[in-house]
Subunit: 434 residues, 2 copies
């Protein structure tokens, strides 16, 4: 149950991620959905919940800007395969069998994994976003939910019904305090000019965010070039999909010229290194050049089917290390930069920079507590280093979203965890006939 | 305290890693230090300890073939720096201050981290191996401990005292049941012909293993070439250090011709992708070609100072993904192959293939239990996939070494964990003046 409450976190090391990146020992007081006070001193207040965070680190909730939530049911179902074989023999056959109930269980499982590993907000792209929204609402999470478009229709709707349902979906959720409806045209190779233009118009009409796969694989870039005579970034630009309300997932095969185009428009990037490496896309998103051009970079796990986790701590480590190795330069993407991607970058990509992404008075209370009093995080010379290079999502102990403690000292408060795990295992068996 | 006991693990999913890679539900009975019985049926026996492993996965303990154990104290002390700046301003100044007591605390911390993340055996290279051996012995771990050689002396001994002390160290531990003394000439650029030859002679005299850094960086290869007119592999070959009793750490800058030389001699490789990527060595160890040539590949974390964990699950995921991305081929290094590296490969590299590396009757009882009844490991389509692509070391619940439960249901049995964490934090402060 989600009810307004107050929470006092004391004796904590607080990683604020404010403008000065202040880190200090102190207390944090949450009243209803807001961070009411942060102080280096004791805060004398009676709270409904009191958390002694000695030996623990308090951080802003992590923000995962590219997911396909119900695909959590397909974690580990078809690894080590070529992309097209994997899609054709594993993913698409299962997706054709998706039902409201399987989507619901997959969403519950994905949310459980995220809340237990320190994520508090995500930007999803999938079918059945109605069902996903219901689950997100009930489980107290924050999300932008991208209603998916594919020219030839989705497993849920035939092509001609997509826009009417998208409009209905937006209207239904547009006033919610935690769920933000969005639009998710699948990609430039699966959505033609007509769809892209209509998505732009609908987004303008209702002021909602857009997410789209962009230049994930080299094949995709060549396909788009062959079909439309231009690369994906140019194609997106033509239909107004390079803009500050758009998140481009992957961007693995992006040129320096394209980065210049991206900068001019303040479009946002969701970098997904784990999925890119596992699927072996070959592309290395030119993140250092994006930073230099002041393009907003955020991080995504992609779906658990191609990752195989939703662990943003793991994604932070892969991000830093992939680019160091690629550039032969250990100074590339230092820990603070990567931690910024997962917090401030995510917030900005979702247009929520005034509401989440840092621990500051007046912001929404999306707060995560990581247990640093364990061998793998001892000693602590620098907490930011540990968050990026040593912590696992499994080291998270407490997760608060919108002022509600969803996980307290590793115990899920919001749903019967064991029941979800059992349901997920059963539903996965049905979907895969295994 | 370490006393002979019996342990019955029941209701488990057992990943045997035997020749057929059998995976089945059943029971495993440990009597004293050996695996006495593995069965698909109930084993009717009274045991000192009974573990109900429902929802859990039982695997052979992981084997980490390249560590610098006391450097766990330097986890996160100097990230995102160039290699020589890092060594000169961070690592070497601290190492010059090392004492018996700091080494002891660092070793305790490293062992705690390893036992809590599923490792049961490691091959170390460091100074003060006497102190390390005492700690390993007391904490019930299994290790090959490589006494380090550097031509200009180590922080512990001047050059002329290294060989006498190495000999003494070998004699002292040569008959131990869990500690195996070894020799660790640091590298071909830090150990000249005389040292390499003497190490070979000493190893032959006492039949002990050798570990050496090899072709970690491109600079190192050029240095050796300039100094000796040949690349590191040829230099090692000349002094008999390409042989089945040698583990080469890193091998990031190895040519195909060198792989042929390696195969001829059955030398073993310790692949350390996380450290290589973090230090940005640029090299990609040609692991697929090594497999084709039947070179024995094992995995190492390297020291926590350059990783920054000792988590072998993380190293498995990095191994698989790094090479998939590098080759643009998601079929490269499938999960089973990488899990083999961390178990059977490690055992073979240490010459212990008849004793550890798989769960088979008569082998030593190095057994790890991973909790699969958690969101990030649900559903389970394939346990091997989860072990490599989804599990974190933090998901390990129970670790048994040589028949002794060092960690039971996440509780350390062998030492006061909190005391070690406190001591490590204090010792790290002293060493780094922070």
């Amino acid at each position: 149950m989600i009810e307004p409450m107050s929470i006092l976190i004391k004796n904590a090391t607080i990683i604020t991620q404010n403008k000065n990146r202040d880190v200090f020992n102190g207390s944090l007081f949450i009243d209803d959905q807001f961070i009411n006070e942060i102080s280096k001193n004791t805060i004398s207040v009676e709270a409904d919940v009191e958390i002694d965070a000695s030996g623990q680190i308090v951080i802003p909730g992590l923000i995962n800007t590219h997911t396909h939530l119900p695909m959590t049911l397909l974690r580990g179902y078809g690894d080590d395969m070529g992309l097209s074989e994997w899609l054709q023999t594993r993913i698409w056959p299962v997706e054709s069998k998706l039902s409201s109930s399987s989507v619901k269980v997959g969403a519950q499982l994905g949310l459980l994994e995220m809340m237990k590993s320190g994520t508090t907000t995500f930007f999803d792209m999938y079918f059945f976003e109605d069902e996903i929204a219901q689950v997100v609402k009930k489980m107290g999470f924050r999300a932008v939910l991208g209603f998916a478009f594919i020219d030839h229709g989705t497993p849920q709707y035939p092509a001609e019904k997509l826009f009417p349902h998208a409009k209905r979906f937006i209207k239904q959720w547009n006033k919610d305090d935690r769920i933000i409806p969005g639009l998710a045209p699948h990609g430039t190779y699966t959505c033609g000019p007509d769809t892209l233009q209509k998505v732009r118009n609908l987004a303008d009409q209702y002021h909602v965010l857009i997410q789209i796969h962009c230049a994930e694989t080299r094949d995709e870039v060549y396909d788009v070039k062959q079909q439309y005579g231009k690369r994906p970034i140019a194609q997106l630009k033509e239909f107004g999909l390079l803009d500050s309300d758009v998140v481009l997932a992957h961007c693995g095969w992006i040129t320096k010229n394209e980065i210049n185009e991206m900068k001019k428009t303040d479009v946002n990037v969701s970098h997904c290194p784990v999925s890119n490496m596992k699927i072996a896309t070959g592309g290395f998103a030119p993140i250092p050049e994006m930073i230099n051009a002041h393009v907003c970079v955020s991080l995504g796990t992609d779906g658990a089917a191609s990752n195989n986790t939703l662990d943003m701590f793991e994604t932070m480590k892969f991000t830093a290390l992939l680019h160091k190795q690629h550039r032969w330069d250990s100074k590339v993407l230092p820990a603070q930069t990567v931690f910024d991607f997962a917090t401030l970058g995510g917030a900005q990509a979702l247009g929520l920079q005034n509401k989440i992404g840092s621990l500051e008075e007046g912001k929404l209370a999306d707060v995560v507590i990581v247990d640093f009093n364990i061998p793998r995080l001892t000693p602590c010379h620098d907490p930011i280093s540990h968050l990026v290079y040593a912590a696992s999502g499994s080291d998270v102990r407490t997760t608060i979203v919108h002022g509600n403690p969803l996980v307290l000292d590793n115990k899920v408060q919001i749903i019967d965890e064991q029941q979800v795990l059992t349901n997920a295992q059963e539903e996965a068996k049905v979907l895969t006939n295994s």
